[in-house]
Amino acid sequence: MAAYIIRRFLLLPLILFGISLIVFGMIQSLGSDRLLAAYVNPGLLDKLTPNQLEKIKEKYGLKDPMVVRYAKWLKNTLTGDLGWSVVGKEPVKNAILNRLPWTVELALYSIIPVVFVGVWLGIVAAVNRDKFVDHFVRIFAVVGWSFPDFVFGLIVLMIFYSMLGWFPPGNLSFWADVVVKSPEFKRFTSLVTIDALLNGRFDIFVDALQHMVAPILTLSWLWWAYLLRITRSSMLEVLTKEYIRTARAKGLAENVVIHKHARKNAMIPVITVGGGMVIQLFAGTVIVEMVFNRTGMGSFTAVAATQLDYASIMASTLFYSLILVIGNLVIDILYAAVDPRIRFS
């Protein structure tokens, strides 16, 4: 197992290199004329003579060989210079740092309902196998899994915003936004709910949460369906094991058998799937942030893509991939820590 993890660590740079090649290759395939738009005001492009255009291309190194440009880009990226974001109207690095906390906060808060409700539903279904509850939960799982996140998000928006007016779109109400941006509001963690509590502004904490309920519900919905299926089948398998029969034969209460003996063992596949899910949750914020008009990494990436903001696209793709790759590595290590059969093989 140790050898396997070391191998994974060694492959990490190779994979990141591969991803950067894919993204860089795509950008270069656009050709130097379209890349000019990243350096020159598009309105001016038509007015410049071909001669002037050539000069600009030379100035920004657009005529250098591919290898040279890649090396330059790699050097800049590694030193933290990610370029200028057209969409954010600021350096890409700042644009990401300003938006990332919103997305992290959303994803973190989503994990709690997703995991607890999903696992709970799965156990309930497995314990009541083939009874009414089980059928109900399974129908929910199949239908839930078929619901596109943006359709569900729109329905949530329609009910909780248009009809009830409870959970508005966006990140914060206007007044709260003004307070948060004012110098009196100290940023300790850059996660707005925690900062609000540390500043003693309970009203802002509530406002931020109010804006988060609808996106969290949307993000959770899909994964409940998924997680409960995995939990249910894993639990069903464990419940047929000999040691469960032994526990029951000993006369242990059914509650103890299920929660002490069965649940722990049923959690092993759930951890692998659940870990991957947290990463997917992060990617899922792209759509959810767009539906609810939130500022964050996800909507930033989507808008950058629609407006062909190359520097931002490149940086956020690398960023999301980094999360995915490192996240998967962490899951594998956790997996080995939980399951001794893997650790010692």
Binding site: I15, L154, V286
Partner: protein, 292 residues
């Protein structure tokens, strides 16, 4: 073989969710086939929803426009012709990406060695970019539009098949009948095509069926973001994109634009549900070990 087929069909018919799945699929297929009769096209490109009115405000359902009007376009027409778009995207992307996965996976699994190592590392790299993100970025670079969406979904959609088929081939490769074929001097490609693939193909077909639903969702999500089908194209995702813009500014006006979300939304959920149910049913029949 005939009794075997009969047994499988019988088993499928006894499973109510499979029957529901297949009925839904048949319904959507009929809608797609008869789209020109249900909604006669009014211009040379039937996939463009005809403009019903120049007033952009959404209008609730009437007898003439049973699903209402959004952005001046008839939602009913969009939903009906959108069925064709959904089939087109789902089937083409699944077919092509599965074939690519089959090719890469079987070459890697059968030949092994450094070729396997290289192909699998490339697979790892493609798997390291989140699917929805990869689809967004590639589509944006290719220049938007439905065909570009399909290309990007194919580019990042083959890896699961490749891994699956490689794993299966590693198992089958050691079987006696493959060793026998090789010992007889049968050409490598023939061994793959005639002996290895037929014995590993069922899981691949099941996996592909189960993927169609999520593919259609992703393609619609791209249209929803404004990267997919052009404005006015009969596509469920773009219809919902119109709806979103109106909904965001509609606090306090309960369910004012419900028809703009419910009709395309329901069409999409049922379409995806149909494929998921059929996928589940096929899995249960061909691979009962995985039954949940």
């Amino acid at each position: 073989m005939r009794t075997e087929t009969k047994r499988i069909i019988k088993r499928l018919l006894r499973n109510p969710s499979a029957v529901l799945g297949f009925s839904l699929l048949i319904f959507f297929t009929l809608v797609a086939i008869f789209a020109p009769i249900i909604c006669p096209p009014q211009s040379y490109n039937p996939y463009m929803i005809p403009i019903a009115t120049w007033d952009k405000t959404p209008q609730p359902p009437t007898a003439e426009h049973p699903f209402g009007i959004i952005d001046g376009r008839d939602i009913f027409y969009g939903v009906v012709w959108g069925t064709r778009t959904a089939f087109k995207v789902g089937l083409i992307v699944t077919l092509v990406s599965t074939l690519i996965g089959l090719l890469i996976g079987s070459v890697a699994g059968y030949f092994g060695g450094w070729l396997d190592e290289v192909l699998m590392r490339i697979t790892d790299i493609f798997l390291s970019i989140p699917y929805i993100l990869a689809a967004i970025v590639v589509t944006a670079f290719l220049g938007m539009g439905l065909n570009k969406v399909m290309i990007s979904l194919i580019m990042f959609g083959w890896m699961a098949t490749a891994r699956l088929i490689r794993g299966n081939i590693l198992q089958v490769r050691e079987e006696q009948y493959v060793l026998a074929a090789r010992a007889l001097g049968v050409n490598d490609y023939l061994v793959i095509l005639r002996h290895v693939l037929p014995n590993t193909i069922f899981p691949v077909i099941i996996q592909a069926t189960m993927r169609i639903g999520s593919l259609v969702i992703t393609a619609a999500a791209l249209s929803f973001l404004g990267l997919g089908a052009p404005i006015g194209y009969a596509d469920w995702g773009s219809l919902l994109n119109f709806a979103r813009n109106w909904l965001l500014g509609s606090s306090g006006e309960a369910f004012k634009y419900w028809y703009a979300i419910v009709y395309p939304g329901v069409a999409m959920v049922l379409f995806v549900l149909a494929w998921n149910l059929v996928g589940d049913a096929l899995r249960d029949v061909f691979d009962p070990r995985l039954r949940g």
